[in-house]
């Protein structure tokens, strides 16, 4: 068992869910495949999906919903 961290490709605002009323993309403990969407980053009024770049189990969110994030910032920790 190793761990892997998904980072943000752009600066902006991080969201756990596709829209305010929707369910979160993933929750802690969920298993994800490579390419699965795990969050959303809003940059300059456009939205970019955060994709898992490895398969594994979501062990921890490293940012809260609506947190401001920088480019390269750690977002989600996976157990691989």
């Amino acid at each position: 068992m190793g761990s892997h961290t998904i980072t943000s490709r752009t600066p902006g605002v991080f969201y756990h869910r596709p829209s305010p009323d929707a369910d979160p993309y993933v929750t802690e403990g969920a298993s994800v495949s490579e390419g699965d969407t795990v969050g959303l980053v809003e940059v300059m009024k456009t939205f970019h999906e955060v994709k898992a770049d490895a398969a594994g189990t979501v062990s921890k969110f490293l940012v809260e919903n609506e947190d401001e994030v920088t480019i390269g910032q750690d977002l989600v920790e996976l157990e691989t």
């Binding site: 752009t10 902006g12 605002v13 300059m44 009024k45 401001e68």
Partner: protein, 448 residues
């Protein structure tokens, strides 16, 4: 009772534009700012500034309560909303009114009416202003075919509950329409929870032409001629000009008269823009923007008016500074929107630090920007960072001046749309002024 102090409820170049107008009129300006904008130009140049929240727009410039609290604490007598953010929210304008302050714009009821598509079309019809031909809701294929005879082919079948370009299907003939209506109803039902659809004439490459109006509280309504804004990508304007090239004088008069009629009909107050689609010698009202527009500088260049100063005078209860006959057009103006986006990467937003900056200057050149060298363009707001607007006696000279100014313009550290504008000014359709609302997207999708 002219205004003494104004809260500028915006950021970036438009906040700075309003601060500048206030300074020239002897009005005290109070800026608002988020964490990310603590040292921004609009804050530095205003007389006072109030911090309203964290960096994300929803926690600062879109937070109506925080903005209102800033207005109260700063003791201003008016609020200028700029464009975007809270500028076209009737509830915000109403809250400003209820707080006993002046909203620099039309009454909240007018914002509400013109912000409702059906209500705005009804206003246009009652003012004898043409709208894009359309039908009421159609309930069956037979009814749709009958309605399409009135509307004229090709038609678009649109979901009543749709929006943002979703739920729209074209049909070129009665036979096609019969199939499309059934499909559209089924799709609308599953996508929007309502199977209501209606028909609208499908225009074939119209131009987007808009008319600037000014209306005071004493019943005067004037137009300040038109702007051509057809060069758009995903409904976002990128380059605008005035006057609109290729517009006959009859059509120009008809458009401007229609804009004044519509504004009078709805009881408009302030600066506003009536937007039309123009196809051949026909024109159709699409919507009214009840605020100052990004592209207002091209109108200021050709008329010599200061539209933001007029807004502030009107809000202070003063009559318009000009009568219709005093407003004359002179020369040609073109505006280039400089966005922090990478045209070579599908216009990917490109926030970041501006490491070097050289602005164009000289005759007939105006740059509206709040961006200075060393500033960081934050990722939280619109990508527009500057507007370059040029003026010259003729359109041909304005194009040459635009090329010259764009060649001087240098932004280092992040990609912008400056290079795109340089290329656009070599495009025959732009040089000839024959472009329409499909031109830019077709050109971007093409080879080269």
């Amino acid at each position: 009772m002219s205004l003494r102090s104004v809260l500028v409820a915006n950021r970036g170049e438009i906040a700075l534009r309003v601060v500048r107008a206030c300074r020239e009129l002897g009005i005290r300006s109070v800026a608002v700012y988020s964490d990310a904008d603590a040292s921004a130009a609009h804050v530095r140049h205003a007389d006072d500034a109030v911090h309203i929240g964290k960096s994300s727009a929803s926690k600062s410039y879109l937070n109506a309560d925080a903005v209102l609290e800033a207005a109260r604490s700063a003791g201003v007598d008016a609020v200028h909303p700029g464009y975007g953010f809270l500028s076209e929210r009737p509830s915000f304008a109403a809250a400003v009114e209820e707080a006993g302050l002046t909203f620099v714009g039309p009454p909240s009821s007018v914002i509400a009416t013109m912000g409702d598509k059906a209500a705005a079309r009804a206003v246009a019809r009652s003012a004898d202003v043409p709208v894009v031909p359309g039908s009421d809701e159609v309930s069956s294929a037979d009814y749709a075919v009958a309605a399409a005879e009135e509307v004229g082919y090709p038609v678009l079948v649109k979901a009543s509950a749709g929006g943002g370009g979703r739920g729209i299907r074209p049909a070129a003939s009665a036979g096609e329409l019969r199939t499309v209506v059934v499909e559209a109803q089924r799709e609308a039902s599953s996508a929007f929870g309502s199977d209501k659809v209606y028909l609208e004439r499908a225009l074939q490459g119209p131009r987007h032409v808009e008319v600037q109006v000014l209306a005071d509280t004493h019943g005067s309504v004037v137009h300040c001629f038109e702007r051509e804004c057809s060069l758009q990508r995903r409904r976002q304007k990128i380059l605008e000009e005035a006057p609109a090239p290729g517009l006959s004088s009859e059509l120009r008069s008809a458009l401007c008269d229609a804009a004044v009629r519509l504004s009078s009909q709805v009881g408009y107050v302030g600066a506003g823009t009536v937007e039309f689609l123009v196809e051949g010698e026909e024109f159709f009202f699409i919507e009214m923007n009840t605020r100052i527009q990004v592209e207002h500088p091209v109108t200021e260049w050709i008329t010599g008016l200061d539209l933001v100063a007029e807004q502030l005078r009107i809000a202070g209860g003063e009559p318009l500074s000009v009568a219709q006959d005093d407003i004359v057009r002179r020369g040609a103006s073109i505006e280039f929107r400089v966005n922090a986006e990478d045209p070579d990467q599908d216009f990917l937003p490109s926030p970041g630090e501006v490491t070097g900056l050289e602005l164009p200057g000289g005759p007939g050149v105006r740059v509206d920007t709040a961006l200075m060298a060393g500033d960081v363009v934050p990722p939280f707001y619109d990508s527009l960072v500057a507007k370059l607007a040029v003026w010259a006696p003729t359109r041909e000279q304005a194009l040459a001046r635009g090329r010259r100014a764009l060649a001087e313009y240098r932004v280092e550290g992040l990609p912008t749309t400056i290079g795109l504008h340089r290329r656009l000014l070599d495009e025959p359709a732009v040089v000839d002024g024959t472009y329409d609302i499909t031109t830019l997207e077709t050109w971007l999708a093409g080879p080269s």
